[in-house]
């Protein structure tokens, strides 16, 4: 490499510049970019599947370019099944799952897995609990032994439960000081109070104290069972090799007999009337602004109109919310919206972090943009690129083994045919401006969205009151995520 004469440029402003200033080329002389060539078709993965005698569904997607394998053993029960007085049970169960079996200590599991260069992560989210594996292809069967062992033989010792509980309580302490996480907890509570998706999936410091070892054992027995599970594998491996390995690790696993935990209530209940809530977090470095309402289930017939509408409104860099809030006004590093399409209707959330002083303005812009979606047709010059965003993102998600596993597992979780992977692109393409306006008119434009702002209230409460005279202000010290409402019944001070 050529070495240049070392010269530390301390004061760039004072340095002489030989380069001439570049000026914008007059509009009529601007050159257009070269046109694209003809597109090439993307190949979609072809899942192969087999169901073991005990009901375990095994799905394989071979992909041979890199010697890696990604897999998930997914159980179709998660935090939505937490008993009303035990929020956090599904996640705590998953967190302790890898911390000891009948024949291995937590340390032995970690050392054994990591010696292979593999990672095994157990987690619980909404609708599912999963054990995810990532490993080089040559070590797949060796690593699968550990997946089988923790899934079937986890012992949930009291010491491990206590350690995980205190770690979860500590991480909640951090989450409860962060505008972003606080905002989503409070919004979930507003949208789904008393329903399965209404509590923090992590639990709360108070609810975690109530959970006993026996609760974990019972949750595990009821839900971690082959007839409630799907095993999805993608990567550099042949289907027969996976079927054989699955038979070996899971074949002798008996079907469950305990009653599966089901949702404690359906999320079909209409949300309580919309509210505007401020959580006052003094000295917050930024305000979190969330606008939310109940959204859709994954199997909703309006799934494609919903995701296309969202792509126009807030799904990506050039979507309307980011155009208005970031690009035009410089009010945020990013604004976005999304549907969490779950087995039951999950939330629709539009979220933005902004300096405290502009929180009211951002909330207003978000609601105005939602209303505009239902008021006028999206022109095709806007709709076509926003659909391309979805199609491109989908295609890219299939470029990695873990991305393929996610796509396939989501279909399986929602009992959708795996061939739907071939229908995503046409499903998006079929949505026209009329369908978007129809969907958005019902789902964005109405006045049933709630607003939550977590931040330093004194810096934005006055302008906020102008638009929302009924705004409720809750000091963070009085926030109570365990109460049926969100505020402590009695203030402590």
């Amino acid at each position: 490499m050529k070495r240049l004469i070392a010269l530390m440029l301390l004061a760039l402003a004072a340095a002489p510049l030989s380069a001439q200033e570049v000026t914008a080329t007059a509009q009529d002389q601007q050159v257009s970019p070269p046109a694209p060539a003809a597109p090439r078709e993307a190949k979609l993965p072809q899942p192969v599947e087999k169901t073991l005698a005990n009901g375990l569904r095994v799905i394989v997607v071979p992909k041979h370019d890199i010697p890696l394998v990604a897999a998930t053993l997914m159980f179709k029960t998660g935090a939505e099944a937490d008993p009303a007085n035990r929020p956090g049970l599904a996640q705590l169960t998953a967190n302790v799952l890898t911390k000891g079996t009948k024949t291995r200590t937590a340390e032995e599991i970690a050392r054994g897995v990591e010696a292979l260069g593999a990672t095994i992560e157990a987690s619980a989210g909404w609708d599912q609990s999963s054990i995810d594996l990532s490993v080089m292809a040559s070590n797949f069967t060796k690593a699968l032994v550990f997946v089988g062992d923790v899934a079937r033989n986890a012992t949930f010792s009291k010491e491990e439960v206590d350690l995980q509980r205190s770690q979860t309580v500590d991480s909640l302490q951090v989450a409860l000081r962060q505008p972003r996480t606080l905002g989503s907890y409070v919004m979930s509570k507003l949208l789904f109070a008393g329903q399965p998706y209404g509590h923090p999936a992590e639990g709360t410091p108070k609810s975690l104290e109530k959970i006993k070892r026996e609760d974990l054992v019972a949750f595990h027995k009821a839900n971690y069972r082959p007839d409630n599970a799907v095993f999805v594998v993608a990567g550099d491996i042949e289907p027969d090799a996976v079927f054989n390995a699955a038979q070996q690790q899971f074949g002798s696993w008996a079907r469950g007999t305990a009653t599966k935990t089901t949702m404690t209530a359906a999320t079909t209940a209409k949300p309580a009337s919309p509210r505007v809530v401020v959580v006052d977090l003094p000295d917050a470095g930024q305000a979190m602004v969330v606008v939310g309402r109940q959204g859709i289930r994954r199997t909703d017939p309006n799934y494609f109109p919903a995701i296309v509408s969202n792509s126009v409104l807030g799904g990506g860099y050039s979507a309307r919310l980011n155009q208005e809030i970031r690009i035009k006004r410089g009010l945020s590093y990013g604004s976005n919206s999304s549907f969490s399409a779950r087995r039951n209707a999950g939330p629709f959330l539009a979220s933005t972090q902004t300096k405290n002083e502009s929180a009211a303005e951002v909330a207003g812009i978000t609601l105005d943009e939602m209303a505009r979606m239902g008021a006028t047709d999206v022109p095709d010059t806007e709709l076509t690129p926003r659909k391309a965003v979805l199609i491109g993102g989908f295609a890219r998600s299939l470029e990695t083994s873990s991305g393929i596993v996610n796509q396939v597992a989501t279909l399986a979780l929602n009992d959708l045919p795996l061939t739907d992977i071939n229908r995503y692109i046409s499903g998006v393409q079929a949505v026209n401006a009329e369908a978007v306006r129809g969907f958005a008119g019902k789902n964005f434009a109405g006045s049933d969205a709630s607003v939550v702002i977590v931040g330093d209230a004194k810096k934005f409460i006055e302008p906020l009151r102008k638009r929302f005279p009924d705004v409720e202000v809750i000091p963070v010290s009085q926030l109570d995520l365990d109460a049926s409402g969100i505020r402590e019944r009695k203030a402590k001070q």
Binding site: V22, T23, A37, E114, L163, D170, V174, K328
Partner: protein, 450 residues
């Protein structure tokens, strides 16, 4: 290309089965007369292509009194150029199902797009146009500067540990410009002007200070012709490219830096040591030491700090950059535990790894972990392009992307011990503690970070 294959054959013979399966990135390299380096690697498995332009300019080149400028400038690169209006790069990528981004590091600023491969020529045209110059106006500049100030709040002020991580470099270094956080400060961002933008482009954004890296679905001959058409005409300026050659002095004593911030639920502590540059042969043993200390739940720091319930999180990081490195070990405490407990254990573990060689099992595990991570990165064309760029700019040798693995495999337990003796044993710690504002009065401030 032939040379790369040869190296691989040696590697297969010399190393384990895992390494043998590691597919090389068969790239082609050439240099245009104007100095632009061009790397291209075909992968036609999906009809997409990743286009990267890496400029050898980063936060270390922030002008004096303008910390954060290289990053602010990176944002401005998405505004107007000779033939493109503001945000046109998004029209050419996002609108056709692709995406784009850029990030500013201390040593470099990579810009990248991933698009359907039939748009390759379009994007080469666009990247060449912005290499040629910017035409951003005052309104766009100010609005984007506000966005960057929001990014500062988002990264530093809003997260409970944002100020902690932001304090590590300023506390750890005294002279080298790496000491200035890349995100900058509000005052310096406010001081930046449109003239600074023009000067920065003219000084650093030039073909002889950049590398074009393209990985994915393309025809080699056609690609080479497009590069000649769009990039070759960009003139090479006659001015020299400024080089940072500041030497960070060796530390002569330990230093303690207490940092306080609002809304800190659990205290934290970090110990840092000066470490060699990424191009040093010591980088491989240091990567192994980092993994042994903190990768996964069987790592030494995890077992001693997190499994024991003393800390909520623990990590070690060999952050090696082009000019020099920092080795850091840190912990965020569990409730009821004091930073002193973690500091003591971290010091014990850093001593232990100097006193005795790591076990054969630990060595093998660390290698497997690092190889598996590298495989994950190389699943996509975009990841492969990043791997080439990092080898080129940080390690100062693109071929490391294919030979680095053999070097890693060659590391012995004794190498790890010796390098840790040199880095930790021969160094002096800077200890950064992080606590809630309310604790400030409890203990008289020792000066510390501003």
């Amino acid at each position: 290309m032939r040379q790369i294959r040869l190296i691989l054959i040696l590697l297969v013979v010399a190393t384990t089965a895992a390494a043998a399966a590691f597919p090389p990135i068969n790239y082609k390299h050439r240099v245009l007369p104007n100095g632009l380096e061009v790397f291209s690697a075909q992968d036609r498995s999906t009809p997409t292509v990743a286009i990267h332009v890496w400029y050898r300019v980063g936060s270390k080149n922030d002008p004096e009194g303008r910390s954060g400028f290289a990053h602010l400038f990176e944002h401005i690169m998405f505004k107007a150029t000779r033939h493109m209006k503001a945000e046109m790069m998004d029209r050419l990528t996002e609108d056709v199902g692709g995406w784009n981004n850029a990030s500013t590091y201390d040593d470099m600023t990579p810009y990248f797009e991933v698009v359907p491969s039939n748009y390759l020529e379009t994007l080469l045209w666009a990247e060449a146009d912005r290499m040629g110059g910017l035409t951003v106006d005052e309104a766009n500049f100010k609005s984007e500067r506000d966005v960057v100030k929001e990014e500062y709040r988002f990264r530093v002020l809003a997260p409970p540990y944002g100020r902690f991580f932001n304090a590590i470099e300023p506390s750890s270094l005294v002279k080298h410009p790496y000491r200035r956080p890349g995100i900058g400060s509000m005052e310096d961002l406010d001081a930046a002007t449109l003239d600074d933008v023009r000067a920065f482009h003219a000084t650093f954004y030039r073909p002889d200070n950049a590398a074009l890296i393209v990985v994915g679905d393309f025809d080699q001959q056609q690609f080479d012709a497009w590069v000649d058409k769009y990039f070759a005409p960009i003139p090479k300026p006659s001015t020299p490219i400024p080089v940072v050659d500041v030497q960070e002095p060796a530390r002569t004593a330990e230093k303690r830096v207490p940092v306080y911030a609002p809304n800190v639920p659990l205290p934290a502590v970090a110990l840092t040591y000066l470490a060699p540059a990424a191009s040093s042969p010591d980088s491989y043993p240091l990567a192994i030491a980092e993994a042994v200390l903190s990768q996964g739940e069987s790592s030494r720091l995890y077992e001693r700090l997190v499994r024991s319930g003393i800390a909520q999180e623990a990590f070690a990081n060999a952050d090696l950059r082009a000019d020099l490195g920092l080795f850091a070990a840190a912990a965020i405490m569990a409730s009821g535990h004091d930073v002193g407990e973690a500091e003591k254990i971290i010091r014990e573990e850093l001593q232990k790894i100097q006193d005795a060689p790591i076990s054969a099992a630990e060595l093998e595990k660390a290698k497997n972990q690092i190889i598996t991570s590298a495989l994950r990165e190389r699943e996509t064309s975009n990841g492969k392009a990043f791997a080439i760029g990092e080898a080129l700019v940080v390690h100062k040798d693109a071929s490391i992307v294919n030979t680095g693995l053999a070097r890693l495999q060659a590391v012995t337990a004794a190498d790890v011990q010796n390098v840790m003796k040199k880095t930790i044993g021969g160094g002096k710690a800077v200890v950064i503690t992080y606590m809630d504002e309310s604790k400030r009065d409890a203990k008289k401030s020792e000066g510390g970070a501003k």
